[in-house]
Symmetry: T
Subunit: 134 residues, 12 copies
């Protein structure tokens, strides 16, 4: 399969900041591990810009997408609309448990249009998301 991982705002800081929480593994390093573990071809895009995340989604020709929309999860009707419009199955990923945090993180605007959601397993959430494809 040909898969795409899209990371949203601030996820490029993984491994550099708040390492006591998230560890000192960068997402690129983790991605290398993922690619070894799976036969799938796994592409990767990251952006802090809401509209670029929409661009990634629109331009994708993959068999499946994993999206960690970061802070946009709770505020972006535009990303929701995009996921609803494209035909590729999209999986929502979170490293932490949003429902264990502030009230404004308890509702996900995109969950309702994603095929499935996985949260709280640290970086392993991505691996589980990939496994959901087969």
């Amino acid at each position: 399969m040909h898969l795409l991982i899209i990371n949203g705002p601030n996820l490029n800081l993984l491994g550099q900041r708040e390492t006591q929480i998230y560890g000192n593994l960068s997402f690129e390093d983790y991605l290398a591990e993922l690619r070894e573990k799976f036969d799938h071809q796994i592409d990767y895009q990251q952006s802090n810009v809401e509209g670029e995340i929409i661009n990634f989604l629109q331009e994708s020709k993959h068999d499946g997408i994993l999206i960690n929309a970061g802070g946009y999860t709770h505020t972006s009707v535009a990303i929701r609309d995009c996921i609803a419009a494209i035909q590729i199955p999209v999986i929502e990923i979170h490293i932490s448990q949003p429902q264990a945090r502030e009230a404004f993180r308890h509702e996900s605007l995109i969950a309702g249009v994603c095929q499935g959601s996985i949260s709280g397993f640290g970086l392993k959430s991505y691996e589980l998301g990939i496994r959901s494809f087969g």
Copy 2:
């Protein structure tokens, strides 16, 4: 008159996705029809990026603007502030009826600073918006 149409996120997918709802006419094709129908000079900009839509609004020297802000309609204080700051009359356009959809689409943050709003007429909403200029 010199008019500008600004389309927000996902409106570049018109004619490609969800064609059973929106038809298989791309916005560019529809734009060609509009330009034939009117004597006005009609410019066109589309972006999935909230801030670029603000850029389009700020840079405009047109006599009037039609904006379909898509999902940003319900979440963007920044676009609202921009429309309030510029002196050009801005018309809010929607292809569908947002109030017939999910509750989070019932309030438009930008309607209150637009000169007028037109929604629900399919692509014809744009034509009506142009006619509002005279």
Copy 3:
């Protein structure tokens, strides 16, 4: 085409009160202009009574209806139910922009069952509504 314009409460005061805002054209005068401008046969009904507006809607055999429900826009489940029940396409019209006014005017109970909505263009909102029919 055979069209019907229905005006709700207080719209009979147009041209007499608050003329600095709405001008000193009565709706009847404006209607005469509309009838000259279009080939359509345009009937007109006005009432301050919610239930009579429902009567007008139920009795209509027109090809299309334009309704400016005034204050009932925000409070009338009964008018909403009527528009949903009849088969004639109904267009929602407002002279001003309700979303630029008090919070209790931000939600329209009838928009969700109207084919389209036009607001904020002054009396010209009616003309645009008629043009929406072709």
Copy 4:
């Protein structure tokens, strides 16, 4: 017993519109059936006007009233006040289940002052309401 059935807005459309949902029996036809089935004298009033429904309630000298207030169920403090003021027992009737529909139909302003409520049984809700009188 001498009973009164009051039907509110749009219920005069029964049998004419949305017949796939409500069947093609008019309320008058159904009333004839009811009158055959029961020894009670059953009067009938219908109006689309909120205030006329109040008039019917005030003028009633019946032993009991069945009211289907339609859309006014959810918005009319005035009908509620009237039911509370008269001494005749009033039964609230609905053909469909309001709580299975939009959120603005989940609260009945009149239920709290009615002796009982019956909803969801189609036209049979009226028959059950009559049986509640003994």
Copy 5:
């Protein structure tokens, strides 16, 4: 002065129903007392129909109006709009204290456009309202 008293829904029941609360004086009897007490010419209108109350307000050529809108106080944007549109000073009258009753009576939609409000003094609220005119 030439004054108008407008009573809304169910106020025609005064003196007939719930006499333990409101006494057995009909409003007409009370009106006769008022007319004796004051030199003003005092007209009187009552209706259970929201739109007729709007008609009374629109047709008035009085120097001042006292309105007890009953249950419409809390639900009628249309009456509010009418009071705001006419130039005659309007005083809001209530026999009881709405804020001592159910929560849905705590907000008055019309108070904000009335010149003053008087509530809780029984029928004497009308007398005080008349005195407010001088």
Copy 6:
């Protein structure tokens, strides 16, 4: 027909407590009366345990069910899900009028998935519910 009545929490106290409100007839006595009045076979289950009520619903092979879920009416998503899952028509019954009581009783979580609802007629609500089956 073969019918099942399910009573929820505290309804086993009928006839023993608050007899000034509910009378001193136990539900078992009332059930005997019901069985005499109808040709239907009427089974009866009562439990104070939410999950046992779900068990009763799941195990039922009846032609119809009457459920008075008591306090669980307003809090049980689980009972709602069960009613939605089984194919037997379920009627919601209440002895009193929940909408005349505290605000937390105004919304029924189960009404939306029941075929009909009957409330406020005292024990007679059950009889009316049975009659709804024909």
Copy 7:
């Protein structure tokens, strides 16, 4: 009669500040006018301190009290409790129309325990309040 007027916070500024709105009559001057106009003995207390207003209410042996609680109207459960506890009839007075101002002024915590409320008549609200006593 022996009456007490209690003015709450900032009402000591009358006649000194915002004179374009409230005129340049101090409350003391107005009080002198009131005393001339009525045979009643009228005492007067003002304080900016919530608890002192409670003291005034508790210590009062008057036949009636007029209270303009100013900003405490909307926030003081303690003043509400005091009015409910004493047996003297208390009238709520406001110079302006609170419901025409910010949303946090739309609910009066004390109205529900006052015998009556008068607002919006400028200083004349006090005169009307006195007249309510006979």
Copy 8:
């Protein structure tokens, strides 16, 4: 590893009801497949009773628990408290996407105390949950 799967209300109906949505595989059959696929020892408990689910959680001596609390997900503070009290890692599982359904399913009371959440993958959600343990 020694794992426990706890299924809440109505999940015992899998394979029998709504098979067009959930397929005709019973959970027991699916469990057999799971046990073949993994080396883990997988115990299974199901109950429609909230308190029994708490009992299962309290009595567990497993290395990890997967819980699909069904309708209790959105209403049970008691299950939340139990998960917070025990030291075993608990994973929240849902077959469907709760955020794509009614508003009362958008908040999970237990997610905030679970180590991770997986939803929307059909029965495969359980398999992914097991894989999260290693």
Copy 9:
């Protein structure tokens, strides 16, 4: 006196879990201390099942009841109804201060029908509850 203590969900874990907060005294040990300290006969029931707690309340013939409903405090209309129905005085007990915890613990559904409430004193809350009986 003959008293009953009812403990709700998860309170059987006292002394085993979260001992750094609650100490390592089990409730049974604490109960032994209580029985020594008082002449009252003190019975004890614990259940994790909401409906069993209702059973305990219904079957009680004690002179007074102390109930710590745990998580059901905030969600159980059914327990509230039961306490309101029985004639025995019931005291609400909490070990911690619910209002110092999450927002969903700030409202107690049962406090309004309990004779008194005691919270925050650790296990000593039970002792104070017993002393409230004299």
Copy 10:
């Protein structure tokens, strides 16, 4: 021990007003009884002024404080902040059950920073509060 009882607004009326509810014992008389019953030295302060209650709290050098903040319980962030700032354990006392009264009494702003809360036992709530200190 050296204890302080602080009573807030209107509690100085105990024994004088609403004696049918609260009895005709003044708090001073009750205090005398308390002082006889306990070896503790019990000081007493009462004020209707929110800020003086803060003064009492700040100036206290006692081993424990019992506070019945009356109406300020539900509105005073300032008293809350003071209790949080001082190191003396503070117990919240109420004579009645606030949660059995109006909705605006259901939330206590101070409970979250008090060591414990006791309500509903009449004057005995104070005695129980003193016993909480040992």
Copy 11:
């Protein structure tokens, strides 16, 4: 310039309590430092009483005022009204960041009528406030 600093409830505890957060500098000591640093004449008032803070504001003849209203920031309509009524520019000061604390501290009732607001800089917030005057 002649400036006034007004400190509200509990700010007199600075330097005595919670010194690990606020340091052990009393406000008087800090004030001495401020007076050395600036040529302005700086007066100082502190009170725990809401109404006295209003008195300070009303009596001020200064060129500018800095107010830290403490807990009254979020609850005092009366202080808001006073700031709006006087003509002296008022600056809102907070030592901590209220929006980083409990939800009831997120809205400031006085910010909307203050010329500016400064929060979060510890005692330095006052110095910045003084510098805002020139």
Copy 12:
């Protein structure tokens, strides 16, 4: 020190639009004044794009940052997350007083993670922000 000023959407219009409110000084001109007034090295970035503001924050190696996030202040969880993630102290700046404007501007999503906030002083808010660094 090395400082960074980040301006969000529409702040590039300063000096060109709404000059009657904001003056005709562009931010660049004001920046020149600031640089003269302080010894600090002051860098400047402006963008209308939410994600670019996040980029500026992430790439910064400054000793302190001043951010005026404009309309994103009230909608951007993503900017909040970024400020929380980086270790540089960030000061929130506003030219006007957001709490004096529409309700949707009363809550700042970023204030809770900023070291301090300064608003309402016009362009001088930036100068005060710089002074906060020493």
